[in-house]
Every structure is written in structure tokens, then in C-alpha cells.
């Protein structure tokens, strides 16, 4: 190889910028042609190209609108301090009266469900009813079934929600209506509605925690926002505090597959203790069981539109939250945070409303 000409050529010398470039190219969703839901393949998360373009334009708008503003100026909240450090806490409230739960009907449904007893299938149940056994207490008379029947009743009377959910879930399906019904064994104040926003699908920080609780006829949405990644530990700590009420019951949308394992993983990352196991109601599972034949999409956004009639303005697809937050990190402009916070807040609200809708449908007092 002969050298033709000599010239000093600059070469990239900073490793950081090289990695940043690579990160820009990484996307955990595919942008597909509008209406082409199958374009991305079944296992891939996708965003319609019109939504994508609109969100990108919106990002530019936000950046100019909020240039120079601080978090304190835009968001109504305050800094909180705990063992994990500091983070930013926002709060909003709205009226919400949970439907009254018909506890008697629920209890009756359970004790009349003979198939809860180990060894009793649908055929056996028919025979037993024909022979006059109508409820599980009746089975205490039955020589062979006395013992397993006793186990079921003991479980029900002890009142440990998680144990009851497991028992029912093992005999039927984990998304069975009765499993949902066990939520009625709790007071509305016990429910902790959780939805998180993250920087990716896993092994990256959680940037926003959304918690919903019922307080005096209102739904209070508390959000813990990371103004900087160093605040993640504090936000985790603040979130965990909500798990340690008297009889907490966790309610999420797809939390069994995503939110809870994610939180557990981030706790392990920082060497913090795992949350104690508490009863967990995943509204996605119950929704799917209830509505899968009616609606093509089980996404929260779709269900809230169809069931709750909620219409969001200026919203962004959840998959684009990471790039919005990353823009905030890079530029310091708080504009991208606005839709993230609002998106998360609405997610928590819709989660709660959907949960109560399902509960009310089946076990609401007439």
C-alpha cells in the first residue's frame, strides 16, 4: 500500500461519545406503518409511525416551551428526604368512591363453590349437589371429604388474602373472578396502586414511581420523580414505605410480569431488601379474562378508552418515555418530563378505576 497524500486526519478519541452514538441507535420498540399491528412480530413492542412522528414533534415543542424553566416552577411538589437520599415528590387528588363490596355475597359464593375442595371436580360436584351437599360446611358431614373441606374453611376463616388467593388460584385460574373478589376482604385504604416508568425494558433505572391510595373518598396519586439518577434509591425507599401498611394489597397493570420484578431487581442492584410478599392483584390478568373476546387490545390505553371512556390529550406512547427522559438528562430542559409525569399519573388513575369497575361489576352491592 503506497501512501498517496499526507494529511492530518482527526479520529474519534473519546470513548464516551462513541457509546452515546451507539445508544442512540438502540430502540426497544419498532415503528410500524399505521394499522400494521403485526409488522413488528408478536414479541416486539411497536409504535405506529404517526404516533411516533407526533411524539417527536411534541418533544421539540416541549423543549422550546419549557426552555429555562425549573422543576419547581412547573411541577407542584416538593423535595423529600429519606434513608436513600432525596427525590422529588408530586401529589394530586380526585374524588373517587369505591363501589360498596358485597362481602356476604362473596363469602356465600366461596362456600358454595364445592370445587374449591381438593378432589372435587365438576362431575363430582353435580353428584354431591344431587345428594344434598350444597356448601362446603355441608361436606364436613362427608366421611371422605371432611378433611379437605376443613382445610378450605380454615384457610377462608384465617383471612390471609395471599393464602386465599393461592388456594382459589390453584383450584381455578389465577385470573378467576373469585381471586379478584378476595380484594374485597380489604378496606379501600389498604390498596396500593402502582405503576412505574423506566429507562428501558430491564437493567436500567426506574425514573418515576406512581403510587395511588384511597384516602377519605379520594384517590391520592403520589409520584416520586428522579430529577437525577442519583435519586433512584430515595424514590425506591419512598415507594416501599407504602408497602408497609397494616394489610397492604398491591394492585397493578401487568405488574406481575413487569413492575414488581423490576422494582425487586433495582432493590437488589442497590443492595436494599426485597419487599415483603404482599397480595398482588394484576388487573391485566382479570381484564384479559373478562374482555379478551370483546376487544383486540388489552393495553391499558385501549381499555381505558373502551371501558372508562377516558381520552388523553398530549400523551406519548409509554415506549417513548426512555428517550424523553434521556433528552431531559442530556439537555436539562424539563419539557420532556411533563408528559412523562402526566402519562404516569393517568396510568395510575385508570388502573384504579378499572380495578373498581371489575370489582363492582361482580361484587358490587346491588
Amino acid at each position: 500500500m503506497l501512501i498517496r497524500k499526507m494529511s492530518a486526519v482527526p479520529a474519534p478519541s473519546r470513548v464516551g461519545s462513541l457509546w452515546q452514538q451507539r445508544m442512540q441507535a438502540v430502540r426497544e420498540y419498532e415503528v410500524v406503518r399505521d394499522g400494521n399491528a403485526f409488522g413488528a412480530g408478536f414479541s416486539h413492542s411497536f409504535v405506529y409511525s404517526s404516533e411516533y412522528e407526533e411524539a417527536r414533534r411534541y418533544l421539540d415543542t416541549l423543549l422550546s416551551r419549557y426552555r429555562g424553566m425549573t422543576i419547581g416552577e412547573q411541577f407542584r411538589g416538593k423535595e423529600i428526604v429519606n434513608d436513600g437520599g432525596t427525590c422529588f415528590s408530586l401529589e394530586s387528588r380526585q374524588d373517587l368512591s369505591p363501589p360498596a363490596f358485597d362481602l356476604d355475597r362473596f363469602r356465600t359464593d366461596l362456600i358454595e363453590d364445592l370445587t374449591l375442595v381438593h378432589g372435587i371436580g365438576p362431575a363430582t360436584r353435580k353428584k354431591l349437589i344431587a345428594r344434598g351437599y350444597h356448601s362446603i360446611p355441608d361436606l364436613l358431614e362427608h366421611p371422605l371429604l371432611r378433611s379437605p373441606a376443613n382445610r378450605v374453611l380454615a384457610c377462608l376463616s384465617e383471612g390471609d388474602t395471599a393464602a386465599i388467593m393461592d388456594m382459589i388460584g390453584n383450584r381455578h385460574a389465577k385470573s378467576h373472578l373469585s381471586v379478584l373478589g378476595t380484594a374485597g376482604l380489604h378496606e379501600p385504604e389498604d390498596y396500593v396502586f402502582v405503576d412505574i416508568e423506566t429507562l428501558g425494558l430491564f437493567s436500567r433505572p426506574i425514573i418515576l414511581f406512581g403510587i395511588g391510595i384511597i384516602d377519605n373518598g379520594q384517590l391520592v396519586v403520589r409520584q416520586f420523580l428522579l430529577r437525577d439518577i442519583v435519586e433512584e434509591q430515595a424514590a425506591l425507599t419512598a415507594t416501599l414505605e407504602h408497602f408497609s401498611r397494616d394489610r397492604p394489597a398491591l394492585v397493578t397493570f401487568n405488574g406481575k410480569s413487569f413492575d414488581l420484578p423490576y422494582i425487586t431487581d433495582r432493590l437488589a442492584y442497590y443492595g436494599m431488601a426485597s419487599p415483603v410478599r404482599i397480595p398482588h392483584f394484576d388487573v391485566l390478568h382479570f381484564s384479559r379474562r373478562r374482555w379478551k373476546d370483546q376487544f383486540p387490545s388489552m393495553r391499558l390505553a385501549a381499555l381505558e378508552r373502551e371501558i372508562l371512556g377516558v381520552c388523553r390529550n398530549d400523551d406519548i406512547p409509554g415506549q417513548m418515555v426512555p428517550e424523553f427522559y434521556e433528552t431531559y438528562q442530556r439537555t436539562g430542559n424539563i419539557g420532556p418530563l411533563v408528559p412523562i409525569v402526566e402519562h404516569n399519573r393517568q396510568d395510575v388513575i385508570s388502573l384504579a378505576l378499572l380495578f373498581f369497575h371489575l370489582l363492582g361489576e361482580s361484587y358490587g352491592s346491588q
Binding site: I3, A11, P12, G16, W19, V26
Partner: protein, 770 residues
């Protein structure tokens, strides 16, 4: 029919005799058995007895070290029973401690599968609950959780490990009880790839430390010049070396065979190889034939069968090709046939070198020098059943390296082993793994320094300023949007990845340099032995679209290059010549490509691709004025001489330093830089450098003298592929002047004349910025 009969044939037959350059025989060696420091358990003893195994000295040595808690590296030959040397300590540990776990890392699926069978059989016989399982990219999701929980020996590969580490919380029971890490074929982890793996291993050890485990290593490699150094670079730990092979072998004959004994040949390498194979098979010798490519393997097999058919159909059927792409059942069938004696001749690519259990055979034919002594010995090591006489033949190609050996047999047989290089200081590699490590557990600047070296603090700050890390009270936390383990590719230094697609199906991925070089628009690409033509290269989406083709021509890119010296790190004077090592900036641009059929150029096409710029390490030398005058004074072409020297040096570099021909590049100029001095540069073809030029700089005297000998002794008139022609020259091997090259190399490799014109010998570190 015996090996000795074939050897007699080689010496007597007029055709063979001219080509037989040299033969060396090693005397048979009886087995040397060893003693274990402490006895094995009853079940393991029974296992050995049942299989009629008595442990050799090296196996005992390795087992003793391992059980004493040391790290061991085993470099004995292929068929020396290395697998048992690591399975015994592992099983011993698993039997004695109910929680212990072991991790086995293999470079290929085939090896993983083979080892799984062996482990399962051992577990069944001994009753030790090892529960071995493979955990890799093909393991179904549904099985993964159970394997993590229950398998006590997990077989995997470094790529999977790289991904899995970010899930370490799920792996806690395994990592916290990890006692042994077994790495087989470890010499594969060298160069750029090896440097990446070295950090994957460091990340693994870091996570083990977090869970309170400190596993020991058992490494198995081919023979290296620097085994302990290599092991230390790969893992960061100190090792005991076991290299004295106690296994027995019969008389081994090694033949150097040169079809190009008179410089040029009428027949191709394929045909010459085929002839040898057929002769071996006719003599009823079970023969393994290694070739450089799948296509060649298939050709040789087909032609051999055709020849054999003239004798009998049965003989023809006893010859087969063996492809890495075969299904496991097909491979098993061939292996069984080999063991049963039904299959006499198997032709393969170097894939078979990878220890698949075909046992040992009577003869091995190596068609074309495989690139390293390590590979040569591994392949040749397949010849020799216990106690029997065996034969290995190296058939030379028409290229400088092969021909050099043919003309200097002593250089071949006395060849010291190559160095395996791993660079743990390349910032591009370290930084990527630092990001991965931070995503796994917060990085602690003090306690993690042992894994990342002195550059840790500097890299942390730099990565922070690019918003990829943040310092928190727990340590440095990963804050990137992309997944770190996805952004860090193990196959190369960061650059964008291009995807090669055929009808929507992903064939392979290339980095930008490879893509420009091998997959530009119009290029003919080989993939797993099949031929494709590149229809389109989309620079925006990094996609290359190819379709299958069946043409008889191939393409070769033309490259223009620029180079500038950024800083000199070291200088030395070798035989009166000023040599230096340092940082350079290289710009390469592919301007067009040649279309060739055989050796004939049938076309030339232009390309419009952007230039590639990278900073790397290089060594270079400036020709002394006296030499320059000698060259020009005798009417020889200075540029041609330098160019030829550059080619020859690059061709012979793999002799001294383990690298692939694509790992290095070169430039020469009769008038370089401001001073217009005649210079030759050799650089690492990777951003940041990978230690090759550095190593070569340390052994320049040897490199120069072997290169000189090559050119001096080549019988050609004015240059040929055997000496100064380079198959990858972007300038079309122009200009080249063999006489000038010979003169230059002669001056480089001998003591300077004492006439006052030599400069004092200097060797030291100096930083000059030009």
C-alpha cells in the same frame, strides 16, 4: 497396509518424491502415569476402573493443583485426556459439597453437546448428582428457571454469559456457590475477541465476589509460548502450568510437502491434496484431511471419491466430507463410522480441529498452513492411535508463509509456539465492559480497580460526562437509555454493525470496516461455503442485501490509505535502522474493486464509500540513508522495494505473533512526512490497537531476519505469491521490486558496517508529538 508403506510410497513414487521436502520422525513414547496427592472417592475410582483408565502424569498434576485450590492451565495435546483432568476435580467437589456448582465455557455448540453427554454419563455411573445442563441462546425460556435453580454443572459460552450477567439476581444460588470455572479451548479467546472475553470473565468474578464466592479456574488450551501470561490476562489470576504430556504415542512422522517446489505448479492445491488422500485411503489408512474452506473440503472430497470409484464403489463411499453445519445426528453417524472403520477418509474444514470425539486416526493431511503452529499441531495431533505409527502431512500453498516453511524446514520444526495476545488496556474495550458492569452492580472505584485497571478513574469521569454513568452513594450507577450488554458487541471493537440479509433472513453481522471491505455493492461474499453477491449496501440503515449466486469469479477491493503519526511511544535501533512504536491515525478508503477469475483480472469497478478513520498503534522503520543510496544507486525501485518489504513483513508476522491477516495493515512510502524519508508502517487494524504491532516491535530482529530469508530463498525471478505478492494488496501489487526488497531486508537483518555511519543503539521511551 501400514503407515510405513505409505511413507515408502512417498519416497519412491517419482511424483511424490519431488514434492516431499522434508520428513521428521519422533520416537514413540510410552505412557507416564502419575500419583494423586489424595485418593479419589470410591465412586470416582470405580468409574476409572470401569473404563480401564489409569491416570497419566499430567492428569494427576492438574487434578492435584485443582484440588489444592490453585488455578490450573493445561496445555497438553488434543488426545491427552484433558477432559478427565477437569471433570474429576469438579465431580470430586460436587460429591463432597452438596451446594457446590461449576461453570463450563465452550466456544461452540458442538463441543457443548459433546461435553454434556460425557458429564451425564459420568453422573449416571458415579451417582453424583451433577445434573449437568446446557444454558445458551437455544435454551427454551421455559427451562431456564429450572436450570438456574437445580443444575450443578452449567455448560455455556461467553456470549451467553455476557447477556446473563445483568440477570445475576436470578442466578444467585448458582453464583454464590460457584467453585470451578472450566474453560476449554481457551486459546480461542485471544486478540480482540479474547480481550472482550477477558472482561466478561472479570465481570463474572466481580459478581461472584458480591455473592461471596471465589471460584477457581481450570483452563485447557493448545500449546502457547506464554501460557501463564495469557491465563493471567484472560482471568486476572495466577496459574499453575501443566504442560508435560504423559500420554503415550507411537512413532509420529511429519512430512512437509510442496507442490510448488519449482515455484509454479500446473496443478492446484486441491488436486495435490486429493491425490495424497486417495493414496492414504488406498493403503487402508484412516485419514483426516483439513482444508481452509468448506468449498475446498467439498471439492477435495468429490474428486477423491471420483478417483476412488475407479478402484471400487466401496472405496469411494468410504470417503466423506464433514461440515460444521451438519446436524448432530449426521455428525454422530460419521463419527461412528470412523470409529467402526467403515469410513476411511474424512475431509473437513478446520472446524474438526475443535476436539470433537472422532478419536485418533492413522494419517492427517493439512492442506495449506492453517495460520498458526497451534492449529497445525492440534490438527496433526489427531494422527496416532495408541501406540501405532502415524503420519501427518502439511501440503503447502503458494503463499509466502507456506513457502517459507518449505524452504526452511528447521524453522518449522523448531518453531516456538506463538504468543496469545490479550489487551486489557484498550479503552474502547474496557469502557464498554465498564458500562455493563455498572448496569450489573454499582461500580466502586476502589474495590473494582482490580478488575478494570488503572484507567478506571479516568474512564468513569469520561463516561459520566456523556451521561452514561452517575456517581451515587452506592457507587457509579449506569444511566444509559440503551441496554449495556446489547450495545457492547463481543465481536470487535465498537463501530456500527451492518446486517447482511438474504431474502429477509439475517446471515451474519459485520462491523463497518469488514462491511466496506467484503460486502460493498457488487462484492462476492462467501458465507458458510456458499456464494452470495451484494446487491445493495444501505449506509443509513446499516443493511446489506445479498442474493445467492453461482459465479466463478470473486472480487477484491482497492484501497487507498493515509497515515499520520500522532505520538511516538518507544524507539529502538535494530541493526542500525531507526524503528519506532506509537500512535497513528489511519484513513482508509475503498475506491473500487477488482473482479477476478483465478488469478486473472476480468474487470474493475468504482466504489463510492466514505473514508474510514481510526486511531491505532503501529510500528515503523525509516530506511537509513546508506541503504537508500544502495537501492537507488543500483537502479532499483525504492518504492517497489519498500512495498515488497511491507508485504513480506506482514506475511510473516503471524509466524511470531498470533493474528489473523485481517488484523493488521501496512503502508509504505519512499518519501514520508515532512522529511520525506523512506518508511514502512505496520499497524493494528482496530481502533485503539490490540497489541499486535506492539508485540512485533519487541521481536523486530527475528521478524526482519526471517523475512529476509524468505525473499532471499524464493526461487522466483521477480516476485511471486510465495514471497512478496500480497493477496490483499489494495494497490494491485504495484509497484514491487524483488531485488530492491531483498536488498532492503538484507540491510535490516544484519549488523551495520563499522564505517562510522551507524547511530548509537538506543532503546527507550519517548513521547514526541508531531
Amino acid at each position: 497396509m501400514a503407515v510405513s508403506d505409505l511413507i515408502r510410497l512417498l519416497n519412491v513414487n517419482p511424483v511424490y518424491r519431488t514434492r516431499l521436502v522434508h520428513m521428521k520422525a519422533t520416537e514413540p513414547e510410552p505412557a507416564r502415569y502419575g500419583l494423586l496427592d489424595s485418593p479419589l472417592s470410591h465412586s470416582l475410582d470405580a468409574y476409572l476402573e470401569q473404563n480401564g483408565i489409569r491416570l497419566y502424569s499430567h492428569q494427576c498434576e492438574a487434578i492435584n493443583h485443582a484440588r489444592a485450590g490453585k488455578n490450573v492451565i493445561l496445555t497438553t495435546s488434543t488426545a491427552s485426556g484433558k477432559t478427565l483432568a477437569f471433570n474429576l476435580p469438579v465431580f470430586s467437589q460436587l460429591e463432597a459439597h452438596a451446594d457446590s456448582r461449576a461453570l463450563y465455557l465452550y466456544p461452540t455448540k458442538a463441543l457443548s453437546n459433546d461435553q454434556l453427554l460425557t458429564l451425564e454419563e459420568m453422573a449416571t455411573f458415579t451417582g453424583i448428582a451433577a445434573k449437568p445442563a446446557i444454558y445458551d441462546g437455544d435454551t427454551p425460556q421455559s427451562k431456564r428457571s429450572a436450570i438456574r435453580e437445580h443444575a450443578r454443572i452449567i455448560i455455556s459460552n461467553p456470549h451467553e454469559l455476557h447477556q446473563v450477567l445483568s440477570w445475576h439476581a436470578k442466578w444467585q444460588p448458582f453464583f454464590s456457590n460457584l467453585e470451578y470455572i472450566v474453560i476449554d479451548e481457551a486459546h480461542r479467546y485471544r486478540g480482540v475477541f479474547g480481550s472482550h472475553i477477558a472482561f466478561v470473565i472479570r465481570r463474572l468474578l466481580r459478581i461472584c465476589r458480591y455473592y461471596g464466592a471465589s471460584p477457581r479456574f481450570i483452563l485447557s488450551t493448545a500449546t502457547l509460548a506464554n501460557p501463564c501470561e495469557f491465563a493471567r490476562h484472560l482471568t486476572g489470576q495466577e496459574f499453575e502450568l501443566v504442560d508435560n504430556d504423559g500420554s503415550p504415542h507411537g512413532r509420529k512422522n511429519f512430512v512437509l510437502y510442496n507442490p510448488f517446489y519449482d515455484g509454479i505448479s500446473e496443478r492446484s492445491l486441491h488436486q495435490e491434496t486429493k491425490d495424497l488422500l486417495v493414496s492414504c485411503v488406498k493403503e487402508d489408512l484412516q485419514t483426516l484431511c483439513f482444508t481452509g474452506s468448506r468449498k475446498m473440503a467439498e471439492l477435495v472430497a468429490v474428486w477423491a471419491r471420483d478417483d476412488a470409484r475407479r478402484i471400487s464403489e466401496k472405496l469411494a463411499e468410504s470417503i466423506s466430507v464433514y461440515r460444521a453445519g451438519f446436524l448432530p445426528e449426521e455428525r454422530r453417524a460419521i463419527e461412528r463410522q470412523l470409529k467402526g472403520g467403515v469410513m476411511k477418509g474424512v475431509v473437513s474444514t478446520n472446524a474438526l480441529e475443535l476436539g470433537i470425539d472422532v478419536g485418533s486416526l492413522d494419517a492427517v493431511i493439512i492442506s495449506g498452513y492453517p495460520g498458526t503452529m497451534m492449529s497445525t499441531r492440534q490438527q496433526a495431533g489427531r494422527a496416532g492411535r495408541k501406540g501405532g505409527e502415524s503420519l501427518a502431512v502439511l501440503v503447502a500453498q503458494a503463499n509466502p508463509l507456506d513457502q517459507y516453511f518449505m524452504h526452511h524446514p528447521d524453522q518449522f520444526f523448531d518453531r516456538s509456539h506463538e504468543h496469545a495476545i490479550i489487551d486489557t488496556a484498550n479503552p474502547y474495550i474496557v469502557s464498554g465492559h465498564l458500562l455493563c458492569a455498572a448496569a450489573e452492580l454499582p461500580v466502586n472505584e476502589e474495590t473494582d480497580r482490580q478488575f478494570f485497571g488503572e484507567s478506571l478513574s479516568g474512564l468513569l469521569s469520561e463516561l459520566e460526562s456523556d451521561d452514561l454513568l452517575r456517581r451515587t452513594s452506592r457507587g457509579w450507577v449506569y444511566t444509559g437509555r440503551g441496554r449495556a450488554a446489547e450495545a457492547v458487541k463481543l465481536d470487535g471493537v465498537p463501530g456500527e454493525t451492518f446486517r447482511v440479509m438474504c431474502h429477509g433472513r439475517l446471515l451474519e453481522t459485520l462491523d463497518r470496516g469488514q462491511a466496506y471491505r467484503e460486502a460493498h455493492k457488487g462484492a462476492i461474499m462467501l458465507h458458510q461455503g456458499e456464494t452470495f453477491v451484494v446487491n445493495e449496501m444501505d449506509l443509513e440503515t446499516h443493511t446489506i442485501r445479498v442474493t445467492e449466486t453461482d459465479v466463478d469469479y470473486y472480487t477484491q477491493p482497492l484501497k487507498e490509505a493515509d497515515l499520520s503519526i500522532i505520538g511516538t511511544l518507544e524507539t529502538r535501533t535494530v541493526n542500525g535502522v531507526r524503528c519506532a512504536f506509537g500512535d497513528v491515525d489511519v484513513t482508509e478508503q475503498y475506491t473500487g474493486y477488482k473482479i477476478k477469475r483465478g488469478d486473472t483480472i476480468i474487470g474493475l469497478e468504482p466504489l463510492s464509500l466514505p473514508a474510514l478513520t481510526f486511531r491505532t498503534k503501529a510500528f515503523w522503520f525509516i530506511l537509513p540513508e546508506s541503504t537508500e543510496q544502495k537501492v537507488t544507486g543500483t537502479g532499483l525501485d525504492l518504492a517497489g522495494g519498500l512495498h515488497g518489504a511491507e508485504h513480506a513483513i506482514i506475511a510473516l508476522m503471524p509466524l511470531h505473533v498470533i493474528c489473523d491477516r485481517w488484523d493488521i495493515g501496512g503502508l509504505s512510502s519512499p518519501a514520508f512526512g515532512e522529511d520525506g524519508e523512506p518508511a514502512v508502517f505496520v499497524y493494528d487494524a482496530y481502533e485503539g490497537g490490540i497489541g499486535l504491532a506492539e508485540k512485533a516491535f519487541g521481536i523486530l530482529p527475528d521478524l526482519f531476519s526471517s523475512t529476509y530469508e524468505l525473499v532471499r530463498d524464493c526461487p522466483c525471478e521477480s516476485g511471486c505469491p510465495s514471497c512478496i505478492y500480497s493477496p490483499k494488496c489494495g494497490n494491485d501489487n504495484q509497484p514491487l521490486d524483488k531485488d530492491a526488497t531483498r536488498l532492503i531486508l538484507k540491510e535490516l537483518s544484519r549488523e551495520p558496517e563499522t564505517n562510522g555511519s551507524c547511530s548509537p543503539c538506543t532503546s527507550g521511551r519517548e513521547i514526541t508529538v508531531s
